[in-house]
Amino acid sequence: MTTTPLARTSANGKSRRRNSDQPGQLWRATPLTWIGLVIAVFLSFFPFYWMIVIASRTNDAANAWPPPFLPGGNLGENIQRVLTNEDANIFKGLLNSILVSGTITVATVFFGALAGFAFAKLRFRGKNALLLVILASMMVPIQLGVLPLYLLMAELGWLNRMPAVTVPFLISGFGIFMMRQYAEQSVPNELIEAARVDGCSTWRIFWHVVAPALRPAAAVLGLLTFMEQWNQFFWPFVVLADPANPTVQISLRTLNSAYFSDTSQIFAGTLIATLPLFLVFVLFGRQIIGGIMEGAVKS
């Protein structure tokens, strides 16, 4: 049927034989296909490579003509310089980002699974209307309420503090929606009814029957949420104006707004800010891509 192993096993022998006949030529890669793909891969990788090149050069070498094309030997020194930069506080930014993204990820997965289970498998009044509210909440950009939200944070005493970038994002409509979809497909109603008949409480049904079945979707949701939160910029920029207590993205912004632009130091910073997600991608890239291909990612 298609080129993926999964789909091929599902295709029956007849259609496979037909594919290898004349019409099957459609699916053969032409030289043009390969050229296109190689260019795409090159363009995809190049900025990462360039990040390493500049981050491993002295600032003078980074601002030279022609620009450097190969990595140099100053990576350690640049990283040390950026970590000890007193304005950017990137080390603190890293810790904050790990804390904030981690907390939001755990909460989003947990509450997403809980509410997703309720919407998929429990009966209650107003279910559809409430689901519609959740759907609508996903379409509201944060810009719409940004100023009152800022004032609210000031009231709560959360300006320049991590709760401001954590608490409003603990539960996402997207997470609930994704878990609901998955729960509907993967948890048979009979299983829940059987547990009910056995006298299980709703909570025990969730914890012992539903939650284990939701694990694959929970993993994907967790990965996507962590990536999204790690890269968050607009709201932290507004509410964490004091560079003394930043997330890592705000540290980068501080580096960039310095009067003297130290390119190699900025690039060492971008390298540090990207490394955690790079590791996540190396370990779980397949799941992430699976998640994207299921159309399971928002903007």
């Binding site: 993926t4 789909a7 037909r18 019409p23 459609l26 053969r28 890669a29 793909l37 795409a40 891969v41 995809s44 990788f45 360039w50 500049i54 003509w65 620009p67 809980l114 509410a115 309720a118 919407f119 429990l122 509201v140 950009p141 810009q143 719409l144 309420g145 940004v146 100023l147 409003p168 539960i171 409509g173 609930i176 048979p188 299983l191 009814e193 059987a194 409480s201 709703t202 909570w203 890269n231 607009f234 920029f237 980068l252 912004r253 960039n256 707004s257 310095a258 009067y259 390119t263 900025i266 971008t270 800010a273 990207t274 997600l277 790079f278 992430i288 891509i289 994207i292 291909m293 903007s299």
Partner: protein, 329 residues
């Protein structure tokens, strides 16, 4: 599996139910179970609605009220001004219209080639090629970088004096370009940042949709003598219609909120202004500028609302447009 459970437990359950019935009244345990079934669903979805009410609905309603006032930290008293903010914004503020123009301009310059490239890329990946996983990972990798990181890397690549792009142009005998100086140049530079991060992602979405198209359609078309190109336009594109609409809407919502890339395109201070003459100031940058520099909160509320209305209208417009285009093929 359910059968197993039902046959395993009945004796015990029957006796239990029987004894409860004999007592005639509901035991506390049973009413508790009923309460559990009734209340649990609401309890499980409650956290979302609490958070959404406080940090979603309340700020939005507050924005509406704010936009009708002249509230500012500089004003000791706040008074109701009706629609004055909106009237001023629309009729007397060229900076706002400049920001609208920039935002929509960059949206078009970024999104049209991005989605076309993503379609071509998906079409290439939909063929029989070795290393599918590698190629998919490779084109998806840019999404792990934050918009801030993308902006910083490309800012250096688009440097006026030592930038890589200008060096490349120089190799072909083209004069260096000051990428921040004009609208066309800065829009192009910023659009490539957006496209680098999102093209592969959209390609994967298209690829997933392409794999769901029945192969029979292509085989029949091939037998009728339709060329590959013809098949792509007459089968693939119409079949992908819902997916294309989805990506266009997502790109619209994201594109009209463009902020980080143009902000960090300026190094040093003054990033919010988007260039010396606002060449690449977007609506969101303008909004933050009104909030923090001009300190006009009521006016900022009006900007927020207008931005939201623009996003909503433009999403609907794009939806209608794309539906029309892809069905005409």
């Amino acid at each position: 599996m359910s059968l197993e459970v039902e046959t395993a437990a009945p004796t015990q359950r029957e006796t239990q139910v029987g004894s409860e019935r004999r007592r005639g009244q509901e035991t506390p345990r049973r009413s508790l179970a009923r309460l559990d079934i009734k209340l649990s669903p609401y309890l499980y979805i409650l956290p979302f609605f609490i958070i959404f009410a406080i940090f979603g609905v309340y700020p939005i309603l507050y924005t509406v009220w704010l936009s009708l006032t002249d509230r500012s930290p500089l004003n000791p008293e706040t008074s109701f001004v009706g629609l004055d903010n909106f009237i001023e914004l629309v009729t007397e503020d060229p900076q706002f219209w400049n920001a609208v123009y920039n935002t929509f301009g960059m949206f078009v310059v970024a999104t049209v080639p991005q989605l076309l490239l993503a379609l071509l890329l998906a079409n290439a990946l939909n063929r029989k090629i070795r290393g599918q996983t590698f190629f998919r990972m490779a084109i998806a990798m840019p999404i792990i970088t934050s918009t801030a990181v993308v902006a910083l890397i490309f800012s250096i690549i688009y440097g006026r004096d030592f930038g890589l792009i200008n060096w490349l142009l120089d190799q072909f005998g083209i004069d260096p370009i000051d990428w921040r100086a004009s609208k066309p140049a800065s829009w192009f530079a910023i659009s490539t940042m957006v496209d680098w991060r999102w093209t592969g992602y959209n390609a994967l979405i298209y690829l997933a949709a392409m794999q769901a198209i029945p192969k029979d359609l292509y085989e029949a078309a091939a037998l009728d003598g339709a060329s590959r190109m013809r098949q792509f336009w007459s089968i693939t594109i119409p079949q992908l219609r819902p997916t294309i609409i989805f990506t266009v809407i997502i790109s619209t919502i994201g594109g009209l909120q463009l902020f980080t890339e143009p902000l960090l395109f300026t190094s040093g201070s003054g990033g919010l202004l988007g260039g010396s003459e606002g060449q690449f100031q977007t609506i969101t940058m303008f909004l933050v500028e009104v909030m923090t520099n001009r300190m006009r909160w009521g006016y900022a509320g009006a900007v927020s609302l207008v931005l939201f209305v623009l996003i909503a209208l433009f999403s609907i417009l794009n939806f209608l447009l794309v539906r029309r285009i892809s069905s005409d093929k």
